[in-house]
């Protein structure tokens, strides 16, 4: 029976080339956008690459500091003191890393200046994240403790500065300091990893940073197991309540939150001060809902096109009914036809999406982006395609399968 359905579908598609082309274009465009967005979201939030342990780490990216009278409020990165005094000693974590946000700096090389995105990081940072080391090594505890003037470069920046993917031992001058390159790592776009150059935290020209409650640092809290994350969140809340701002000229208290990547995104959207473990799920639900809406529009268009297409085939439906097709069998046939069309569109869309992702990587509108069609994205694409096919085929199929056979045979649907 399926063969008959497919044969009919194939001939209908060939006979109505314009309809088929419009339908396919509609499906392909929607799916390409969905697949590319899915791939980007996965890259951003799914444990992968450098941040493949992100399912068991939380980030403290922000401190909201205020004074007694609440006349002054600051929201921004943490001071190193918060990490060093309160987060590093906290129980229940495997490791706490400190790293600054991106610090743009100018590197002078052969008389010309190149803008470099730099981070200061401690030794734990290199253990929480899993950089692929392409040459040399990354800083260790000793380098950090001793304040050695060493640097790690991302591969693209190594090539850009030195024309050499492994410029080990070469010198970099920036901000009046000279660093020696000890390692090169693979480019990474991930939230906590993106940078062109990393140097030890202890290479700041002075130690003022060690006494600040607000500053330029982020903390990464690595749990022993994903199951420990709720307890770590709660502990961070307790720590926030007892943080001591003594000596700070401006602030007297502050609030910090330990968030997963998606929670952090949710917090940035909502500006919420609460520690809500469901926020990430809500954001994902919202994204899914938006994707569904995005899919619904072409689906409605397809429903409309399909009703017109199937109306033309009312005689066929009448004949099939006369020879024993039940309403359910007819609905199934029409849905199968639509799913076949959508799967064909899905296959083309997957190829096109792979092309778009390749272009996004190769042409470099987003630096260090590493995305591709992987099995998870492919699975989503397939699921989306089938949902799409069923959505756009079911309504007209049900409508047409219930046609009165006498009217259908007269072509008077």
């Amino acid at each position: 029976m399926l063969k008959n359905y497919l044969l009919t579908a194939w001939n209908v598609f060939l006979r109505r080339k314009l309809f088929t082309a419009i339908n396919l274009a509609c499906i392909i465009l929607t799916l390409v956008v969905l697949l590319v967005v899915t791939a980007m979201l996965q890259e951003a939030f799914y444990p992968s690459g450098v941040e493949h342990r992100s399912n068991r780490f939380l980030q403290v990216h922000m401190i909201e500091a205020t004074n007694e009278k609440h006349t002054s409020l600051s929201r921004g990165p943490l001071g190193y003191r918060v990490i060093d005094k309160y987060l590093k000693p906290m129980p229940g974590v495997e490791m706490v890393a400190a790293v600054t946000g991106i610090e743009p700096t100018a590197v002078i090389m052969n008389g010309s200046s190149t803008e470099v995105n730099m981070r200061h990081a401690d030794a734990e940072y290199w253990r929480v994240l899993d950089f692929k080391v392409l040459a040399g090594r990354v800083p260790n505890e000793d380098d950090v403790t001793q304040g050695r003037m060493v640097a790690v470069l991302a591969r693209s920046m190594a090539v850009k500065l030195f024309g050499d993917p492994a410029p080990l031992g070469r010198k970099i001058e920036t901000g009046g300091q000279t660093f020696s390159v000890i390692g090169v790592v693979q480019d990474a776009l991930h939230l906590n990893a993106y940078a062109d150059m990393w140097v030890p935290i202890t290479t700041y020209p002075n130690t003022n940073y060690r006494h600040q409650m607000t500053g330029r640092f982020f903390a990464l809290l690595l749990a022993r197991s994903p199951d420990d994350l709720p307890a770590i969140r709660a502990e961070v809340q307790r720590i926030a309540a007892r943080m001591d701002f003594a000596g700070d000229p401006e602030f007297t208290s502050g609030q910090i939150w330990a968030d997963s990547k998606i929670d952090m995104f949710a917090r940035s959207l909502s500006s919420s001060k609460e520690s809500n473990p469901d926020a990430g799920a809500l954001v994902l639900g919202g994204i899914t809902f938006l994707m569904f809406l995005f899919m619904l529009l072409p689906a409605l268009n397809l429903v409309n096109l399909n009703v017109g297409r199937i109306m033309e085939r009312s005689t066929e439906i009448g004949v099939r009914k006369a020879f024993g097709a039940s309403n359910g069998q007819l609905a199934a046939q029409l849905v199968v036809e639509n799913v076949v069309l959508c799967l064909a569109g899905g296959a083309i869309a997957l190829a096109l999406a792979a092309g778009v992702l390749w272009w996004l990587e190769a042409a470099g509108p987003i630096p260090y982006l590493r995305v591709g069609i992987n099995f998870a994205v492919f699975g989503w694409g397939l699921l989306i395609t089938i949902v799409f096919g069923v959505l756009s085929g079911l309504v007209p199929a049900l409508k047409m399968s219930r046609l009165d056979p006498v009217r259908a045979l007269k072509g008077a649907a």
Partner: protein, 220 residues
């Protein structure tokens, strides 16, 4: 085989009610060849559609093979149509997107039957109507007479008890019409019950019995 008791049918539009059939009593016996005749619009096709369970009567009872079918749901009606009836239409109603052989296989698709058996039966049915060489053609590559013979093959491939033919020669010239009649008579001789709507008196005289409809009522 088929028994209609006091069958009535009224069509409703926004403002007008049209009485298509009024208290029809009809009994068609097994292996009988019955012709339904009457002027255009008298209710012949409506009667045929009700016999074939394509349409539901407004009142009255239908018995097929001794069983009342009035209360049957869609699935059971579909099953009964598939097992019991074969339809032949004036306009052939072949599916132009399918090859001749696939058109003929159609009734068997709705039975649990292996594909090879379906193909074999469809082949045999086409050979029986003299179109064994046209199996791979599409309907629009055939003449009107050939298309109607394909339609007959499709109607008989499931070996139904009853063939219902609605003016099967109406769109054919006299030679092709005669060929189609010969096939129907042969099938009837082999035991298939045939109920045929026609305007042609000569054709009707070849049947066992003529039923005349006028203004929705049987008159003879």
């Amino acid at each position: 085989m088929i028994k209609l008791d006091k069958i009535s049918k009224t069509y409703h539009t926004d403002k007008v009610q049209t009485l298509a059939l009024k208290e029809i009593d009809l009994h068609v016996r097994k292996s009988e060849f019955v012709c339904i005749m009457g002027p255009s619009g008298c209710g012949k096709s409506t009667l045929l559609n009700i016999i074939g369970l394509l349409d539901r009567p407004g009142a009255g009872n239908i018995h097929i093979g001794g069983l009342p079918v009035q209360s049957y749901k869609d699935k059971h009606v579909a099953r009964l149509r598939n097992d019991t009836f074969g339809f032949i239409f004036q306009s052939f109603h072949l599916i132009n997107d399918l090859r001749v052989i696939d058109n003929v296989e159609l009734p068997l698709l709705y039975r649990s039957m292996p594909g090879s058996e379906r193909r074999e039966r469809a082949r045999a049915a086409l050979e029986k109507v003299g179109l064994g060489a046209r199996m791979e053609h599409y309907p629009n590559q055939l003449s009107g007479g050939q298309q109607q013979r394909v339609a007959i093959a499709r109607a008989m491939v499931g070996q139904p008890d009853v063939l219902l033919a609605d003016e099967p020669t109406g769109n054919l010239d006299s030679k092709m019409g005669a060929e189609v009649m010969d096939i129907l008579l042969k099938l009837n001789e082999e035991g298939t019950t045939v109920v045929m709507v026609t305007h042609d008196e000569a054709e009707a005289r070849r049947a066992h019995r003529i039923v005349r409809v006028f203004d929705g009522q049987l008159v003879a």
